[in-house]
Symmetry: C2
Subunit: 418 residues, 2 copies
């Protein structure tokens, strides 16, 4: 029997009507001949309520108890979804993480999968159950305690089940109808993509296109799980949404697939740092320890050279989320006080945004960067920092130009055309 994994997020199971709506989508797949594993999140708002109670009860909470409490929202939805399916005549039952079992590490709050033994669930499918409704976001540690997987945990649960059970596809139902060439709120020319490669999706996800969590896409790529993103709130069929798949499955891809942006970026420059082996480690080690998520890093020759000083100097520029600037400053102060490195000046710019063009076609195509820079220059947008990877070019610009830049690049690469 072919098997499908279907995942419904919090807004898709927010109340009994929406659970009924989701159940209809499941029923349709059963009627098409699939066995289905359904992964459900908690009703939207429930997990936040539970987290709030935990944090109020114990600000420095025991992560094992946190997991025991916050995992309960998914158990409720799983039971209700199974009941709804039964009511519609579909043989279904709910599964909590420990019943499957979903074996994970003991890293409570951010556990990782170890394995998902198939025996228990296979036995129930063999008995005639057509649907297994699994509480997402949770697992079981070797110590017999409930774990949770951290942000996006239900997406990750869905991909892990699709991998473990060799599912034909993993459908992620959410409140958007697919992955777009860019944010439709910025330009009405944004076009829904029929297919996108895992690598492209990864770059788009980590750049702020918040459709799928990075970790679930990574897992899907590793196990070649075909992912489909589609809407819970529209009629959908086999061609709906966007398929995230291996690039081999994408016949002819455009050079650029999408334009992503990230608004809450800041730029910091350490001016006139002594240029010696190990200096990057001396700077970015303490930042990492302080939990600062450094993204782009650029190293230039410093312009503040003193002819009397024979040592070489460099300027070190990096980007980070705006709300981590204070933490970064503190880490730099402590590191310099401890004699790890010295600098002449620290320049901080909290009014920048990151724009990226992404496409696996770039690998075989030259001149993409030049075309991008020319398009931005034509709009008088000054580029502050540039980084490139095999399938992505990112620039930092003044935040006020962000929407303009996205539209200009969307036009330049003709993304409105299929």
């Amino acid at each position: 029997m072919p098997l499908l994994v279907m995942k419904f997020g919090g807004t898709s199971v927010a109340d009994l009507d929406r659970i009924a709506n989701a159940a209809q989508k499941v029923q349709r797949e059963v009627e098409r001949g699939y066995d289905v594993i359904v992964i459900v999140s908690a009703m939207s708002g429930k997990t936040n309520e539970l987290v709030g109670w935990v944090e109020k009860t114990s600000p420095l909470y025991d992560a094992r108890e946190y997991d025991a409490v916050v995992s309960s929202g998914e158990n409720v939805t799983a039971g209700l979804m199974a009941l709804r399916l039964q009511e519609m005549g579909v043989p279904a039952r709910s599964w909590q993480g420990w019943q499957v079992p979903i074996n994970t590490t003991s890293a409570h709050g951010s556990a990782r999968f170890i394995d998902i033994p198939r025996a228990n669930m296979d036995a129930k499918f063999a008995e005639g159950f057509k649907v297994a409704v699994v509480a997402g976001f949770q697992g079981l540690s070797a110590e017999g305690r409930i774990t949770t997987l951290g942000r996006g945990g239900s997406d990750t649960t869905a991909v892990a089940f699709a991998a473990a059970f060799g599912a034909e596809r993993c459908d992620i139902y959410t409140d958007v109808d697919g992955v777009y060439t860019t944010d439709p709120r910025i330009t009405s020319k944004a076009r829904k993509l029929d297919k996108i490669a895992f690598e492209e999706m990864l770059e788009l996800a980590s750049l702020g296109a918040k459709v799928l969590q990075t970790r679930s896409v990574e897992l899907a790529m590793r196990y070649k799980v075909r992912l489909r993103v589609l809407s819970s709130f529209e009629d959908t069929d086999e061609t709906s949404g966007t398929l995230v798949c291996d690039e081999d499955e994408i016949m002819e891809s455009k050079v650029v697939s999408g334009v992503a942006y990230s608004r809450d970026e800041a730029k910091m420059t350490l001016v006139k740092v002594e240029d010696r082996p190990g200096i990057a480690a001396a700077i970015f080690g303490p930042l990492a320890e302080a939990g600062v998520n450094v993204d782009m890093i650029v190293q230039n020759i410093s312009e503040l050279d003193d002819p009397a000083d024979k040592r070489a100097y460099t300027d070190m520029t990096f980007s980070l989320p705006t709300n981590q600037v204070e933490r970064a400053k503190k880490a730099i102060e402590e590191a310099t006080a401890a004699g790890k490195f010295a600098y002449a000046k620290l320049v901080t710019d909290t009014d920048v945004a990151k724009i990226s063009v992404v496409g696996i076609g770039m690998r075989s195509q030259v001149g993409v960067a030049a075309k991008m820079f020319a398009a931005l220059a034509a709009e008088n947008v000054n580029i502050k920092v540039i980084t490139t990877s095999e399938i992505k070019i990112s620039v930092l610009i003044d935040r006020k130009y962000m929407e303009l830049a996205v539209q200009a690049l969307h036009d330049t690469f003709e993304l409105e055309k299929a």
Copy 2:
């Protein structure tokens, strides 16, 4: 290490403040040198919300899914209570039914205990944990599914743990401060009892003194678990509340310990039923099958004797909850239509109440019934039905005399005096 079981019901853990209040009571027992097993209910209102969702989703719900959903409320409270205790410096952890495990039958919605193996929890006490917070009302079936215990399940869980772990005592914290000689809303002379025997408590509980569920008292009596009922909302010490215990522990007991009443009673009389062997079974079998809870049964000689008819006739009177009258009528109609028995007339009185005096001292004391009947006669209260047991005398009277009768009997047996 001496061990105590403490149980907190829904109103005692209704919000974070009340959970903190309950945790203080637990901490105090730990400071006195006890290891403590805490049994918690769901926050008040939560279980009803979950039941409502289940019933709306599937009116004829699968009881296994019902249990999976409604058990989640207790898991939340258990985790929060453990967190609160940790925050106060008390080494505590939460336990869900399957983690202990609490092995039960597979009768979902009304499961019964099979056993509670001590190994897992004992190992944690040995590691230095002082408190085990257990989610009440739930267990684990042999099939690996979550079960629930039905009404009063958390009280029963508490008693079962006290029995399994040989607890010194099982303290039931609730919203009343103990067991009274009668309902204080009826007479301000009602007096809190320091001690009451299991048998007396059983009669009072099943008669409507809703402090403890009958099943938990039965279990406590069987395993000789000393139960204490006391208030969550007052400062309490070792002498607070009411101790429910073996009668051997009650030095000198009064003849009557309490006066109970039940308001929602109805009386039905089948007039002129043929008096033959098996007639009671013919009547009460169908009623039992229809789920009618028949309480008192009285059989009299019928006054409607017809001299021409040589057969013997009898009147059969019984009491039942008012809201089961229609169901009882239907069952009787069907049974007579099927030829199981015949009668001349069915008389229904839905305006009656039951008054009972209860006391283990009655066993060795004569004249209690006579004193009771005299007290009622002095107030012109007509008695409609009488039944007696070893430690209880119950009468049905017109409902309008109920409060009067309770006060008269409370005075007659001098229950206001310790």
